[in-house]
């Protein structure tokens, strides 16, 4: 039983990271119908920025964290302006390819700048555990869970209570109509990219004590975050986090209870099964086709 709870908590913590990356996918997809295959790489880059600020320049953890988030938000806007905006409105296939290309580029450049070693960031949560009876929970995992909850609440409030959030929801429904209503759609899209890069950075920095940062971490985790986003229906913010947690728990349970090899495959097996039964994901909207 104790093992089960232990696995459950570490699965939820891992799942929150997947959820945070998936959240980035969903934000961008909702606003622009672009599936950003470079989302994991944005996370990786965010982690490297944080490492530069904290590990190399010796800044305070929180200042470094905020600096990395700000830098990545700016980077997200630049990436949107250069790569995505010219091809908005074209078929999805070409946009997917463009973001795959962007991902390739970021991975290689990060490898060139920061090398290929695993890097580690010293965080206030790196050491220490929370003991509850005989249950031992590491602070770094708990911090991930807490941060995910805070971020989700903030994003939910932002989308539902602020004018900018409403504008984003409007342009995600129909870009042209939103434009006619006086919403500056281009600026909205840029802000969405900034937010999604910032969320990815949070994921990267929180993850740093758990898996370390290296140039391929984005690819590996990004591929896990896809099933999370799809399970959640690719269009729903709570869905992304729930999907992420599900994938994380499935993975850690499969690693513990099933024979070796299942750990990496189980999320995809579950994903294929769900897609077979419910092609729009667990929380997706079912839209009727128009001719």
């Amino acid at each position: 039983m104790l093992d089960f709870v232990q696995q459950l908590v570490s699965g939820v913590a891992l799942g929150c990271v997947y959820g945070l990356i998936a959240l980035g996918f969903v934000l961008v997809y909702k606003a622009t119908e672009v599936v950003n295959f470079a989302q994991g790489d944005l996370m990786m880059l965010g982690g490297f920025f944080a490492f530069t600020f904290i590990g190399m320049m010796g800044l305070n953890y929180w200042i470094g964290f905020a600096g990395a988030v700000a830098a990545m938000a700016l980077f997200g806007m630049v990436a949107e302006r250069v790569v995505v905006r010219p091809i908005l409105g074209y078929p999805q296939f070409s946009i997917i390819m463009a973001t795959i290309g962007l991902g390739y580029f970021l991975r290689s450049v990060a490898g060139m700048i920061w090398g290929t070693d695993d890097l580690k960031i010293e965080t206030p949560f790196s050491q220490g555990v929370l003991r509850m009876g005989s249950l031992v929970l590491a602070y770094d995992k708990l911090s991930v869970i807490a941060a995910t909850m805070i971020l989700c609440t903030l994003l939910w409030l932002f989308f539902n209570k602020t004018t900018l959030g409403t504008a984003m929801r409007a342009s995600s429904e129909n870009m042209l109509a939103a434009y006619y209503m006086g919403i500056p759609v281009k600026r909205v899209v840029s802000v969405v990219w900034a937010i999604s890069a910032a969320v990815a950075t949070c994921a990267g920095v929180l993850l740093a004590p758990i898996t370390f940062i290296h140039s391929n971490v984005g690819l590996v985790l990004g591929l896990k975050a896809f099933p999370a986003a799809v399970l959640g229906g690719f269009g729903s913010i709570p869905g992304a986090v729930v999907g992420g947690v599900l994938i994380g728990v499935i993975e850690s349970m499969a690693g513990f209870y099933l024979p070796e090899g299942w750990k990496d495959v189980a999320p995809y097996v579950v994903l294929l099964t769900v897609l077979l039964l419910k092609p729009e994901g667990l929380f997706g909207l079912h839209v009727r086709k128009k001719v």
Partner: protein, 383 residues
């Protein structure tokens, strides 16, 4: 400019619309046939890879270009073909048998992937195919009694009708070329048949195709099966060319490379597969060439513009250091993909068509002829 005057439907679906095609493709084929006697053995080896990549490119074009179903899982089909060949070889099965068996098995698995894919569109389909590929990769690594796991499998030299065909011999090249030509001609015939027309109809509008009486489910599965089977054939050749296969050769990276092949070549014509394959295979030697010679050339240019020998030397060494950075190749790959999507969405073959039309219509060519329409309403989600 040549005007084709079509008087009936047969004219519209001719394999060679006019005699110019026969002449130009005849010359191309003749050049390819004498290639082994002219080119160096390294280039020949690259040419074999071009053939293999082009076969996969054609397969992917049938599925993605003509049926409109994206797939990022073709490395898995290639792997299944390659492993079938390697496994059957250990039982001394002759080449023609395991060649066909690999295609058949891959085709059946392709159809099995096609069934769940029936209900999926767009991004869901892409992710389902990625999942499939990752699962296959893991199975290959774990099913040690058949695949030898991560140790990989050695593939014996190909023997065809009692003659051994080493992997770098001209005969092996001719074999790959023959498979490629057969694939292309077969695909062209397929595309002019009712099946091919149904594929294109599904790509353009699934609902419209259905209301015209096309059995969408059946043709999608067919498209998956045919595409997978062709990739399986390519897998056998791939295994023989490499003579050693292991699971880490068939990663997502390879699937992405195949997509890049058709993206760079052009997704609307079979020419695209071949042009894209040439591009992706030849970029490696080209980058190596740049890496070796570029520092010297740049230093030479600097020297002609009046840089002192010491500055030129330091420029040369710093350029050389930059060129040998790890991962430069990946960065260049990424830039190429992005640039193609942004500026040449129709690919290399599209560029060729534009150049051709420019001279045909000179001076009346308009850039807008090839401009694609942008759609800002939420097309994909509500389609």
């Amino acid at each position: 400019m040549r005007f084709l005057f079509k008087t009936d439907y047969e004219d519209d679906i001719k394999l060679f619309p006019h005699s110019g095609y026969v002449v130009s493709y005849g010359i191309l084929l003749a050049l390819l046939l004498i290639a082994p006697y002219v080119l160096s053995s390294y280039l020949m080896s690259q040419l074999v890879f071009v053939c293999i990549y082009a076969i996969v490119g054609v397969a992917l074009l049938i599925l993605t270009g003509f049926t409109g179903q994206a797939s990022l899982g073709h490395a898995a089909f290639l792997a299944i073909g390659a492993y079938t060949a390697a496994y059957l070889q250990t039982y001394n099965v002759p080449f023609p048998v395991y060649f066909l068996a690999a295609g058949l098995l891959t085709g059946i698995i392709g159809a099995m992937v096609g069934f769940p894919a029936l209900r999926l569109t767009g991004i869901y389909l892409v992710i389902a195919t990625i999942s499939f590929a990752l699962i296959v990769e893991e199975i290959l690594a774990r099913w040690e009694s058949v695949t030898h796991g991560n140790e990989g499998m050695r593939v014996k030299t190909l023997s065809l009708l009692g003659v051994t065909v080493p992997r770098d011999s001209p005969t092996f090249y001719y074999l790959c070329l023959a498979v490629l030509v057969l694939t292309i001609v077969g695909t062209l015939n397929l595309l002019r048949s009712p099946t091919g027309r149904a594929f294109v109809a599904i790509r353009d509008s699934e609902t419209a195709a259905r209301s015209m009486g096309v059995n969408v489910a059946l043709y999608k599965v067919k498209s998956f099966a045919i595409s997978a089977a062709i990739t399986g054939f390519a897998g056998v050749l791939f295994a023989h060319k490499l003579s050693f296969i292991s699971p880490e050769m068939f990663t997502l990276q390879l699937s992405i490379e195949f997509i890049i092949v058709i993206l760079i070549g052009g997704t609307f014509s079979l020419h695209g597969a071949v042009l894209g394959a040439i591009f992706i295979v030849m970029i490696d030697p080209f980058l190596t060439y740049l890496k070796d010679d570029m520092p010297g050339i740049i230093a030479g240019i600097a020297a002609t513009f009046g840089a002192s020998p010491a500055t030129a030397g330091s420029i040369q060494s710093s350029v050389a250091a930059f060129a040998s950075l790890n991962g430069l190749k990946g960065a260049i790959y990424g830039i190429i993909i992005v640039l193609f999507v942004l500026f040449e969405p129709l690919g290399l073959y599209g560029r060729w068509l534009k150049i051709k039309l420019f001279f045909q219509l000179f001076p009346l060519y308009k850039r807008a002829t090839f401009k694609r329409q942008k759609i800002y309403v939420k097309s994909e989600r509500n389609r």
